[in-house]
Symmetry: C2
Subunit: 495 residues, 2 copies
């Protein structure tokens, strides 16, 4: 049953992302691009962009300044409803209404006939007991405990929604204020003919959802000396993804301190019974916090030691460099905005970035506790057949990389510096991890220079063949749904 629920949930999410992507594609297609007289994006590229926004990957095969203001608004909506926090919120509301329905059933039984109510309760209790035994607490019915659970989930819904709205509204107002105050950043947007409000909303929604699209062609490179803007966006990156569980737990605790004490207590103590993916047990939340900053520090140190005097950071003072590098290293998980051209930084850093992009968001150093045992028990109960055909995540990644090497084999030979394995790996892992980093394509790197080549501001995948792009679309969707296969490949024994 648990397996069925998982498969079901997987299918629902898959359909959700595909239909939203398709819907987004239709809207993008109907609306005219800014360059409608000179250049019209191909259908595949538009679909790619739509999938990329919906899966919050920000891989691009079209320059961003091609899109008109209305298209940017469509992209904003796609990012808003594609983000992990939003989708999880929908799931939570769904669960809440399910609980509500069951509760109504029982209370209507109780109203009609006290004895039926009694038997109903007994039945419910029995079922609850069975559920406990089988490790599935999702449909438990025990009324008093369950009413509390219902109330707690309702409370959690409000907290998440409030968090979602508050952080982004704060972000938009801060960015707007910054643009109003700092003329250099405002001028950049004016020269590009971008609407200031659209930019504020787009960039904050994109950053909070950890998508990483920006309306500018050069992404954040044009703002690399606007340290204030970077400082405004940094919390959005963390609050919207890697630190969300820790902050959510903190909010629940904080609100419980002053209001809703009972619900908050239930949420904090029976975290695993709620079954909300983003509400983690106490010690996990703390270790997550430590791990996130540990990874940032490791990247920061390596980046500083290798690139402090590089060309990409020239023209910045020490303070701007520090903020810029901090911003860059935070973006590997998983916003994917960039203040430097990634193709110019050293391979050592890129390899570390690949590792960071690969790691799932809530990767955490977590010394084993006793509840590890319980965790294992539930894992053992997965479906046998399904388990046998699932590979591990890395195997899938290797397969995707091999497939891309096959579709691009001609270019791998003719243009080895652009189509190097590192660049392909960065692109595929970046799509898998919903990051959006890319090394791009540069005509200067061609070993047999082609005079028709023009440098473009889109990702490396923009130069791939159609088959390659389709594979990358699959990788983005696969990566967005990776949490369903985190324990794949268990039938393989490595000895």
């Amino acid at each position: 049953r648990l397996v069925l629920a998982r498969v079901n949930s997987f299918c629902i999410q898959l359909c959700y992302f595909l239909s939203v992507s398709f819907f987004g594609f239709v809207l993008l297609k109907v609306l005219k691009p800014r360059t409608h007289d000179s250049f019209k994006p191909r259908n595949l590229d538009l679909f790619f962009t739509s999938v990329s926004a919906t899966t919050v990957s920000s891989m691009s095969t079209v320059e961003m300044e091609v899109f008109s203001n209305s298209q940017l608004i469509v992209l904003t909506i796609l990012m808003l409803i594609g983000g992990e926090i939003f989708t999880s919120m929908v799931g939570l509301h769904f669960k809440k209404s399910q609980l509500k329905k069951m509760e109504n059933k029982i209370s209507s039984l109780a109203n009609n006939d006290p004895s039926t109510y009694q038997s109903g309760l007994v039945m419910a209790e029995k079922q609850d007991f069975e559920n406990l035994e089988s490790g599935n607490q999702e449909t438990s019915l025990d009324s008093s405990v369950d009413f509390l659970k219902y109330k707690s989930i309702k409370f959690l819904c409000f907290v998440v929604l409030g968090y979602f709205i508050a952080v982004q509204v704060l972000g938009v107002s801060l960015v707007s204020t910054y643009l109003a105050l700092v003329s250099s950043s405002r001028n950049v947007l004016k020269n590009k003919g971008l609407n200031l409000l659209t930019f504020s909303i787009f960039s904050v929604v994109s950053t909070f959802a950890n998508c990483g699209f920006l309306p500018t062609n050069e992404n954040m490179v044009v703002f690399k000396n606007n340290s204030g803007l970077l400082l405004i966006l940094i919390p959005q990156i963390l609050l919207g993804n890697t630190l969300f569980p820790s902050c959510l737990r903190f909010c629940v605790w904080f609100l419980g301190k002053f209001f809703k004490r009972v619900e908050s207590n239930y949420l904090l103590k029976k975290t695993s019974e709620i079954g909300y993916f983003h509400l983690l047990p106490s010690h996990h939340s703390s270790y997550l916090f430590v791990t996130v900053f540990g990874f940032i520090i490791a990247q920061f140190i390596l980046f500083c030691s290798m690139e402090w005097n590089s060309a990409g950071l020239s023209g910045l003072n020490s303070y701007q460099k520090t903020i810029g590098i901090l911003f860059q290293t935070m973006n590997t998980r998983y916003a994917g905005e960039s203040i430097v051209d990634l193709s110019t930084i050293s391979s050592a850093i890129l390899v570390l970035f690949v590792v960071m992009m690969y790691l799932p968001p809530y990767t955490s150093f977590l010394p084993i506790k006793d509840d590890e045992e319980i965790y294992k028990k539930t894992r053992n109960r997965r479906g046998k057949l399904l388990e046998n055909i699932l590979f591990s995540q890395l195997s899938y990644l290797a397969i995707f990389i091999i497939l891309v090497c096959i579709t691009e084999r001609q270019k791998l030979k003719e243009d080895p510096l652009n189509f190097s394995l590192l660049n392909i790996v960065v692109e595929v892992v970046s799509a898998y991890g919903s990051v959006g980093f890319t090394t791009g394509y540069s005509c200067d790197r061609q070993t047999q220079p082609n005079s028709n080549c023009v440098n473009k501001f889109y990702g490396f995948s923009g130069k791939w063949s159609d088959e390659g792009k389709i594979i990358l679309i699959v990788v983005m969707v696969f990566g967005r749904l990776k949490k369903f296969n985190m324990d794949g490949g268990r039938t393989w024994k490595l000895l």
Copy 2:
């Protein structure tokens, strides 16, 4: 206690490999190379070669034809005593003599005083029971069962030794016969001034230990149309490594059928109590067999479809191509001999090769059985502290690759086609997996041609800086001992 035993065993093996490597280095240094008047290998390169032979990696930083006949004999001995089957045999003999000692103690007690013997037995039984409970059966003493265990291990020692000698003697005689019969292969060796017998022994020992060194500079490329020789070596590769557990089990069963029925039964049924790493349970042995051929077929298909008409295989007829490709794909696990220049084959294949090289030898598709539970129990009992500081194998590999990118950062920029990430990854993973594949270094790939550059017949790592070579030495030793860390990184939760 189990942890201590593991740490102990790890230290013993580490000391063994380091001292053998050092001893080998001294011998190689004392003996004169063939080119003693024109070229003398550096100390670091000699040590590298010695480590490479001892850890059966066959990474090279010196051309093989530099070594004189006596140095080749030293290398043969290093490969012989560095191979996995030989070292495991030593461990088994050690375990046998331990059991023997205990048995002697008990029987001397019995001779002196029957009652002491009785109490000794009870004590022994009690201890045995405790051992069973704690999952450590290594020092059990129960006399009747234990006598059988001792006899079985003694029998297993003979089987392994017999297997070790028989397969290699057969191989040497077959290669010698082939060289005597086929003049083309004989002429190659004569022109190079290599001793025929040395070549036979060297190549068979190297192939059986899955080392992959050959006395010729070009490795097997010069023999790519000698399909007979390839066919002789193919079984040596499989019997000496990936298929060893399956064949060993078959031998035990086969010998039990006609001799030593009791010991054989004990070995087949109580496989896990023997604690010999290479004797796997029945279903594991069968799945291993299937997996090994599955991997070979997958590689064979990809290689044929991408490279059938490539330059590296030109001049061969279909039969020779088929045998050649079969030989090549078998060498990824883990002999590392080559009939083509790996730098010329497509990246898709190289990526698959990297995956294959990374996988440990007894990787097997293994649907979960009930004894999985037991396996988990013993895993849970590992030391907490030690576990916390161990990363997973892949993290270590990533760290090593990043370190190499740092030491070679200058060349990564100046010579991007030779020092590409793919080539570095192939080199590091090949060293880690004790394979020995290399893409080599080619002056033609330099983007800024250097007129002093001369193409050499050694591995890519031969062109690395000293620091890079030292890292690779560490990687080879680490990879040779990887079985001690197969479940590292368990304190990290990927969610």
